[in-house]
Structure formats: C-alpha cells, structure tokens
C-alpha cells in the first residue's frame, strides 16, 4: 500500500509534466509563423512502477523530452529542389533579359537585314540616284548598328551577371559562417544531451537559403554536419566554414574558387550555377553566333562590292570594315568602311548607269554566309535557340516550383503548427492539470483527516 505522501508526489509530478506539456503548446503557438520552425510535442512517459507485495503501483508521469517533429530526408529533398529551382530561376531570368534583344522590333537584326536587301532592290531601279545610294548606305549602317547594339547589350548583361557572381559568393560565405557557428552550438548542446531543436530549425533555414545559391550536399556525422558542393568542395565541416573566393580570369570574369581550386565549371545548382551557366555558356554562344553572322555577311558583301565599279567607274572596295579574321568580336565591331554613297559598286561594267553588280549583293540574301545558312535563316535559328532556351527553362522552372511547393506542403504537414491542434492540446493539458491539482486538494483533505484523527476521538 502506498502512502498518502507518495500519492501526493504522483500528483505533483503530474502538475509539473502537464505544465511542461502546456509550455510546448505555448511555444508552438508563439512560433506558428516562424519560418523553419518545427512543432514540438511533449514526450510524456509513465514512471517506473513500484511493486509492493503482489501489487504493482504506478508512480505517475514525467516528461522525457520535448520532441521536435521533422523529417530530415524531406529536408534534404527540399534542399535539392531549392538548388534546382535557384539555378533555373537565375538562368531563366537572365535568358529572358537576353531574349528581349531578339524580339522583333523596328531595329532588330532580322528587320535591319531585310531592310538592307530591300534598299538594294530599290537602288537597282535607278543605280545613279544618289538618294537611293544613300538609302543603301544608311540601311547597311543600321544593320551594323543593330549587330553592335545586340552584341554590346549581351556583353553588358554578361558583366552584370559577373557582378552577381561576386555578390552570391559573399552571401554564401556569410551563410556558411553562420551555419558553422550554429553547428558548434548544436554539438555543444548535444554533447551535454540537451535539446538543440531551435538551433537545428535555424540551421535548416540557413541551409535552405544556401541551397538557393549553390549546390549543397549535407553529410550528418558524429562530429556534426558537413556541407560540401556536389563536387566535394567543403563549405562547412562541423564548426568550421570554408569561404569561397573569386579571382578575375583572363577574360576579365570572376572565377569561383573553393579551398584553392577553381570550381567555376563544377557547380551544378543554385543561383550561382544558373548565373555562371548564362555568363559562361549561353551568352558567349549567342555572341559567337552573332559574330559568325556579322562576319559572314560583311565578308560576302565586301566581296560583292569589290566585284563591281563605283559611280566614278573605279573598282569597288570594302563596304564594311573587314571583320577580324577569327570572326571574334565581328558583331560588336561591325562598321561601314565607306561614307560616300557614290562608292557603292553597283555597276558591273564601269558605266555609271549599270546596275549589274547589285545582283551580286542581292544574291548574298540567298547565299550560305554563316553556318551553311542564308543570313535570315541563320538569324532566325539564333532566335529559335534563344526562345527555346527560355521556353524550356520556364517550363522546367514551373515544374520545379510545383515540386518545391509540394515538398514544402509535406514538410508543413509534418512540422507545421496547427492552431486547432494546439488549442485542443491546451484544453487537454489544462484538464489534466486541473485534475492533478484536485487530487492534491483531496489528498490534502485526507491528510488533514489523518492529522486530526486524535482530536476527534478526544
């Protein structure tokens, strides 16, 4: 048979346990809108029973721990999808900017190429007419300007992306520093078997932000959490973070270095990878296509002009400044060689009124001048590629966003705080608390009875 005091102790323990449980509820309610917060659940356990003779007496309840509800595997999936999403978002945003250069307008390359060839047709009807000749020269100049503008805008965009690389690296270093600090605090707490869930939540939020910027693999080991990029470059090992750095490369762009090695081409996720992809691959490929087209056109038209005679009967020279032999930079540097409309070599026989050589110019319209294609076809395939890259990237981005939303939903259904649930818990714990308090009052009465037993008989 247990003592009244023993029973009292059970009730007192229950008061404490219910109060702690209520504390968890309160904390959940307080953090209902805190990003990354994982709800806590009081882990109530029966105390070990006492056996007296043939009877086993329960000894009440105690709170083993406040358990944070989280799914680490899901967390990793979220991080992975965040990386994917970050990369796509960065590249699609950048490509959308780039494609605005290729949207049909009054001054895009395609329109200017068409206008140039149209101006030649006009001149052929009256080859000595100086204003028609000026029209050809102006159209050629406009075409050169369209190439210049498009190439320069793309280069400018590339420089802007380069600035973003440095900014991303700075932000990554701040985050890895914070994660390392949290790692330290977490392992200290865990070392003395204390609950570090609040810090773990914070760390998950930071890793989520980091995932948006760079590809991160997490490895959980005994001595804490290790974060590396997918190619194995350490970012955080336990309490130590390893900062990334940038170095200017030969092309004047920032390369990303981790632990002394150039990892620029090895990043596969996050904003940084998306930016680098557009900066180092997509835009340079576009620029190179434009160079091929500009050089091909300029060379073919120069050949045409050299094959005829100008208004004074002299053999024609270059219409455009000869593009660099390698073709590199041809689009940004395309410029007219001549400013005098009389120098257009329209004549095929040296007589001023001949338009015979203009056919050689017009033929360029249908000649393979770049990549085996006519100027217009080559340009339209550039536009197709740009549009296709944006369209595919956008589609991938939406599906990645959808997946991420679903993963977040899953996470929330495990870790998110439900106010209804918390209200129900609160009522439950309060009732239990009330009951335990009532038990104490009752035992108190019983003790009073026992203490006053003598007085009653006397």
């Amino acid at each position: 048979m247990s003592s009244l005091f023993g029973t009292m102790a059970i009730a007192t323990g229950a008061l404490g346990a219910e109060q702690s449980a209520l504390n968890a509820t309160t904390n959940n309610v307080a953090n209902v809108n805190t990003p990354g917060y994982s709800r806590q659940r009081p882990d109530l356990v029966e105390n070990d029973p006492v056996v007296v003779g043939s009877v086993t007496y329960g000894t009440g309840v105690s709170l083993r721990q406040l358990e944070s509800l989280r799914d680490p595997i899901l967390q990793v999936r979220i991080q992975e999808e965040t990386q994917q999403q970050g990369q796509l978002n960065a590249s699609v945003t950048a490509m959308q900017q780039a494609q605005s250069q290729f949207t049909t307008s009054s001054g895009d390359i395609g329109t200017e190429i068409s206008n140039f060839f149209t101006s030649l047709d006009q001149l052929s009807t009256d080859p000595t007419n100086l204003s028609l000749r000026q029209g050809v020269l102006t159209a050629a100049g406009n075409m050169a300007t369209a190439f210049n503008n498009t190439a320069n805008n793309l280069s400018q965009q590339r420089s802007n992306l380069d600035l973003e690389v440095s900014q991303d690296v700075k932000q990554i270093n701040v985050l890895t520093g914070q994660i390392a600090t949290l790692n330290n605090q977490i392992s200290q707490l865990q070392g003395v078997h204390q609950d570090a869930s609040a810090l773990v939540d914070q760390r998950d939020v930071l890793i989520g932000q980091l995932s948006g910027l760079i590809d991160v693999s997490t490895i959980q080991s005994d001595n804490g959490l290790t974060l590396t990029t997918s190619n194995g470059t350490a970012l955080v090992v336990g309490g130590q973070s390893f900062a990334l750095s940038t170095q200017t490369n030969a092309a004047g762009m920032q390369d990303v270095y981790g632990q002394g090695a150039d990892i620029t081409t090895k990043l596969s996720g996050g904003d940084l990878a998306g930016i680098l992809q557009v900066r180092d691959q997509t835009i340079p490929a576009l620029l190179s296509n434009l160079d091929t087209l500009a050089a091909g056109l300029a060379n073919a038209l120069n050949t045409a002009n050299k094959g005829g005679f100008d208004l004074s009967g002299n053999a024609g020279g270059n219409l455009f400044v000869a593009p660099p032999a390698s073709g590199q930079g041809a689009a940004s540097s395309l410029a007219l060689q001549i400013t005098d409309p009389a120098l257009i070599a329209a004549s095929s026989d040296g007589t001023p009124g001949s338009n015979g050589n203009l056919a050689a110019f017009s033929a360029v319209h249908d000649q393979p001048v770049a990549g085996g294609q006519t100027p217009t076809n080559y340009y339209s395939s550039i536009v197709f590629n740009v549009g296709n890259a944006v369209a595919n990237g956008s589609a991938e981005l939406s599906s990645s966003q959808l997946i991420l939303n679903q993963l977040q939903d899953q996470r929330n259904s495990i870790s998110g705080v439900s106010l209804n649930e918390e209200a129900a818990n609160m009522v439950q714990y309060q009732r239990a608390f009330d009951a335990a308090a009532q038990v104490i009052t009752t035992i108190n009465d019983m003790l009073y009875t026992v203490i006053n037993m003598g007085t009653l008989t006397g």
Partner: protein, 297 residues
C-alpha cells in the same frame, strides 16, 4: 499518427495559384493588346523563327512591288517615246511615197525633203528621251545617246553603250528594263537615221526615191518590232504585280496562322482565368479566420 496530417498552412499554395492565374491573365491581355500570340521568342520559338523569315519575305515582296512601279514608269516612257517614233515614221513613209510620184516638181520635192528634215530632228529628239533625268535609250551610259555628227554617214552618232540593266521583280525573276538605243535606232539594214537621211538625199537629187522610201519602211517595221520589247516588259511587270499582290495575301494569311492571337479563344480564356481568380480569392476570403482558440471561453 495514423492518417497524414493536414498541412496547416494552405496559404502559400493559394498564393502560387493566384500568381499563376495572374501571369496567364497578363499573357492573355498582352495578346489581346498586340493581336499577336508571339510577343517574345519564348512564346513560340519555332513560330518566332518562322516569323522572321515571313517578315523578310514580306519586305521583299513590298520591295518587288516598289521596284515594279519604278520600272513601269521607265518602261512606259520608253514605250510612249517609241510610239511617237512610229507615228512620226508613218508620216515620213507617206511623204516618201508622195515624193516618189514622178509628176512632182523640184520645188515640191524640196518642200517634202524639208518636212522630212523636221521629222529627222523630231526622231533624234525622241531617241534622246529622258525619264527622271536619265536618257532612256543610252544603254547604261549617262550621256546623251544620239548626237549630231557631220562625219557620220547619217549625220547622227550613237554615244551611248550597248549595256542593259535587269531589275529583280520576284524571287529569282529578273526582267531586262532597257534596250540600248543603238539596237533600236541603228538596226543593221534598218538604221532609221540613215534611212531618213537617204530619203532626204534622194528627194533632193531626185534619184532612187522609191528605194529610199522602202528603206524607211524597213526601218519602220524594224522599230515596231523593237517596240514589242517594252510592251512585253510592261506586261510582265503588270502580271508580276498582280501575282505579288496575291502572294502578299497568302503571306499575310501565313503570318496570321503563325502569329495572330486567336482573339475569341484568348478572350474566353481571359474570362475563364478571371473566374478562377475570383474563385481563388473567394476561397482565400472564406478561409477560417478563427481557430479552436476562439471557441474556448
């Protein structure tokens, strides 16, 4: 926990749905505004690429049409100049026939010769016709083609060249737009100036008038034959003009197929999106503002 716990935060999903709808609406509004479903290459990459080719083709067609109207002006002036030449020559021929009549006096023949001299000048002037400041019958030279020259047998020398120009009036379709004056007026055995000069000479000397008159007739027939070139070229240009107009219609239909927004479809989609948007907003508005907490006293 046996069943899957409900996600207590439905708001992000609803916001994502709202954003998606908003984006669709923006796209639809843009399509209605521009009337085109391709407003940037990514809207339809293949369509955008095709549009560049269509636009190029369309500006080429415009250009061909423009060329045809410029060239038609030139061809018409040439044709009408030659028409005048023919008319004038008919008069010369009848004068020649009249001069061959043996009953005429010397003074009658001198009067005819004098009139024929005037016709000769008129012919030279017609052979030097210009169109917008350019000599029509000078080949590709920029100089006056027929100049008086006493050293020349006919008294007229050709100073132009024998080149011709062609002008594109269609894809791979070029027409010759001029004949050199030497070909028209100085035909072998049919040199009009020579024939005229011979006739005047014959009248003045009263010998070989019939033969000289025949020479003028031959030249007349020859020039009439040359004139056909301009008539044909004009016909070609006009036929091509009509063909280009049809082609432009075809092209603009192709343009529509590739890029024109399906206005009724877009408008009804916009309305549908609006309904969905309203429903979503409604759903958000009707989301419980309360929790169990509100019901506990």
């Amino acid at each position: 926990m046996s069943s899957i716990r409900a996600n207590p935060f439905p708001m992000p999903d609803l916001l994502a749905a709202l954003e998606h709808l908003q984006q669709q609406q923006n796209t639809a509004t843009l399509q209605l505004g521009t009337g085109s479903k391709i407003n940037q290459p990514s809207d339809d990459p293949a369509g955008a690429a095709e549009m560049i080719q269509i636009n190029d083709l369309s500006s080429q067609l415009d250009s061909f049409q423009h060329s045809i109207s410029s060239v038609s002006g030139l061809l018409s002036s040439a044709d009408s100049a030659l028409n005048s030449v023919v008319t004038v020559l008919q008069r010369a021929i009848s004068l020649g026939v009249e001069g061959a009549n043996g009953t005429l006096s010397d003074s009658d023949r001198a009067a005819i010769a004098s009139e024929l001299g005037g016709i000769q000048s008129q012919l030279i002037s017609l052979a030097n016709s210009t169109y917008q400041g350019r000599f029509i019958f000078a080949g590709t030279a920029e100089t006056q083609p027929f100049v008086a020259d006493v050293t020349a047998p006919s008294g007229v020398r050709y100073a132009g060249n024998t080149q011709t120009n062609t002008v594109r009036i269609g894809q791979g379709y070029q027409i010759k737009v001029n004949l050199p004056g030497s070909q028209i007026f100085n035909g072998a055995g049919a040199d009009i100036f020579q024939a005229m000069s011979d006739l005047i000479q014959a009248l003045n000397t009263n010998s070989g008038i019939s033969a000289a008159a025949t020479e003028v007739s031959t030249a007349y027939t020859y020039i009439n034959g040359q004139r056909v070139f301009y008539g044909n070229a004009l016909n070609q240009a006009q036929t091509q003009q009509a063909f280009l107009s049809t082609e432009k219609v075809d092209l603009s239909q192709r343009q529509d197929t590739v890029s024109a927004a399906d206005i009724p479809a877009v408008a009804s989609q916009l309305a549908g999106d609006q309904t969905a948007l309203n429903a979503t907003l409604d759903a958000i508005g009707k989301m419980p503002q309360t929790s169990l907490f509100d019901y506990l006293k």
